[in-house]
Symmetry: C2
Subunit: 493 residues, 2 copies
Amino acid sequence: MPCNVLTEDTINRHALKCKYGVRGEIFQRAQELTQQGHPITFTSVGNPHQLKQQPLTFVRQVVALCAAPFLMDDPVIVAAFPEDAVARAKRYLKALRGGLGSYQDSKGNPELCSEICDFIEHRDAGYRPDPVNIFMTNGASEGVRVILQTVIRNESDGILVPIPQYPLYSASIALYGGQLVGYHLDEEHGWGLSMDDLGMALQSAKVKGINVRAIVFINPGNPTGTCLQAYQLQNLVKFAYTNRLVLLADEVYQENVYGSTPFTSCYKVLCDMGAPYSSSQELVSFHTVSKGAAGECGLRGGYFHLHNVDEKVRANLYKLVSINLSPSVPGMVALGCYVNPPKPGDASYDLHVRERQGIIDSLRRRANMMSDAFNSIPGISCQPVDGSMYAFPKIRIPQSVVQAARASGKAPDALYCLELLENAHIAATPGSSFEQEDGSFHFRTNILPDESEFASIIGRFQDAHMSFLRKYGGLEESAEKHSLSAVPVMSKL
Amino acid sequence: MPCNVLTEDTINRHALKCKYGVRGEIFQRAQELTQQGHPITFTSVGNPHQLKQQPLTFVRQVVALCAAPFLMDDPVIVAAFPEDAVARAKRYLKALRGGLGSYQDSKGNPELCSEICDFIEHRDAGYRPDPVNIFMTNGASEGVRVILQTVIRNESDGILVPIPQYPLYSASIALYGGQLVGYHLDEEHGWGLSMDDLGMALQSAKVKGINVRAIVFINPGNPTGTCLQAYQLQNLVKFAYTNRLVLLADEVYQENVYGSTPFTSCYKVLCDMGAPYSSSQELVSFHTVSKGAAGECGLRGGYFHLHNVDEKVRANLYKLVSINLSPSVPGMVALGCYVNPPKPGDASYDLHVRERQGIIDSLRRRANMMSDAFNSIPGISCQPVDGSMYAFPKIRIPQSVVQAARASGKAPDALYCLELLENAHIAATPGSSFEQEDGSFHFRTNILPDESEFASIIGRFQDAHMSFLRKYGGLEESAEKHSLSAVPVMSKL
């Protein structure tokens, strides 16, 4: 019998080589445990609705009416919806020509692209993009991929990516056959951006013959939770300009800001800087309805915004997105509601603002609780979570464990996360999936569990951590730094 | 000022090289005309809801209730929905853990994958796949792309594709850097499959040093409308087995069948054939909720089904789909309703059957009207439309036009379609976008316009065709074959 055409030895080697740890061994084991009836707390993925964050009512009213326009034929049902939701659904249905079931323009419905431009104009002090430069996508990830696929030509092309990074970047760069050129964020200074480290990373890539073509930054940071200040963005722009790099601005967490640094878009910074930056620096910014207060991960709404990108390149991007015909139309509708929320005086305004603010305020409390709790546990330190949905604490792993893990072919922090999953039923993601400084170990957890469950989750976490140390003999090392009492942690919650 | 990093000369050359004509020049010009207020009939894309096909009520009731579960708290609203739609929405909401806004497993929600297996088991006389082999996707296209990306390793790898083909294949193969190896369908015999032509195509690719790894077939055919019979599928299976090719079965139009040949899945044929075929021939089958009676293009629901694919390869496919996190969840829900429709005795059963049958019956009438009408027009001949949503008529283009078009850098049938768009406001797609036998010219039109508009569209078409011939001097050539009277056409409608 002939053997298979497709085996691990005979498939595309880039497909084989790329890694995607967020949905790797630990996530899959967590899925198995769930199917076996164990209640697992999924802190591995930024999936807020799965952890009980409620959808925004206005968004869902509009999506539901667009899904079932015949509901609007029944006056009793119409009366159960606020006027502005009904009006919005009618407007979108008209614009969508055939409704939710109809392919839209492959870069998104033109009326919705224009609504995104209104949003950007309002957010960025009057700088308004041309709708032709807005491409709606199935979540932001799809946009990142189509851009990387266009930028990367061969194995000599490199992309600067922060370390730690979000594995979408490492996986896509590997899949498209390019080189990830990491620049380290400075953990001891709140995962800050160091222009010196960035310069060195670029220099050492050049020495290796890598042609670095673009730089990714994530603001607010994933997994770091750091918010960049305007002057840091200016430095990034100057760096990209001087070194002829396309700027790729992952700004999907722009609404998830909890500290004192407000979100500033790279587009605004670039426009504020004036020529030559504003008129020639190539920038692609990514955004989504999957994060923020909406958290509509499953609807797959997102967009990218091109600035100073050559129009022939734009035409090629259009061709590439056309192969998939149309992004998700429910995602477009949800994104429309997000970028153009109810205004003062609209029937839904008060509820919408209350819901939206309630979610962000609660996330802020959880961000603080999470970093405080981790910092009270022996052997763990955690930078402040000023933005995004994650904490990325550092764990001190005893040398014996490091050796044992490596002997068994596992990353030490993967072993740690597996034990955490089996013993505390918490699914976190090992730092090794995000890249990290050699010899350091971390894990990523989201800050999304319901506030009412926080104390119990942290308690379970702490117990599992202590038994890990007891099992592998790291208690004394940790005791040097911290008291072992659980009391300070629990009292904060 | 430094010039752009990204220009047509400096982007990925595969991205530059790939073409996607369905959304090309004619489609874009049609979009422009629409925005200028001209009512364009879009026959270029299989987008039924845009052409007034109504969504299936049950599907939309379930999607709407899943979008806005709070509707189910109001007894008045609940009373407006059939019981089975409410029960289905509740079951899906439970299975989805967080609802429509929640990322699902990257290969689709397990309960919905299992429902797809029930559907296949019922369709294919009891052959039931393991749910682990079902991957839900954003429409079928995404699945085709991830498979081609995995199969194609370098420029020596080839994929057998029918000519004419659906440009998803030519575009994706170019994008992933492989070779399209075309095998011609036999137009004079209803676009039939000729095993001799297939063998010759493979042989001539081998002579060129191309390593052919997979064969695509589209059943029912796009753009040809042909339905394959079981014995033809057996021949394909034997051919793939003998020549060590992965079978890629594009079966997205399986519900769109109008003639006497019923749809038979390749999976059933393969299983019926027994060992060694059933136990070792690699098969990937694609399906979607975008076509058929549902026509839910915008919700992006689809799946692929692996059979005899190595489990390590499957694990790699899982990793690749994970990078995009989750397919559209509204698409999953719609697909669930499609594969598991209301059963006899359910509250929605009668209406659902009536709607579904009404759509297919109407499509059958339109398929016949369309081919009859084309065959009555001088200079046009059209094979029967037994399935799918398209006709692919052959047009006799005068030699003078061929030369003039080529001199202006256009394909002759693209020139024809542009004139059709400008003069009749009908957007069709030139045959050159689908590949066609050298020296022959075609266009693809869907059969989707509303029945009430058929006569007027065909009338407009005929007028534009005749003025094309008058303008470019093809009248005498055509008159040899046909009478010029429009009467026989109109009288059929």
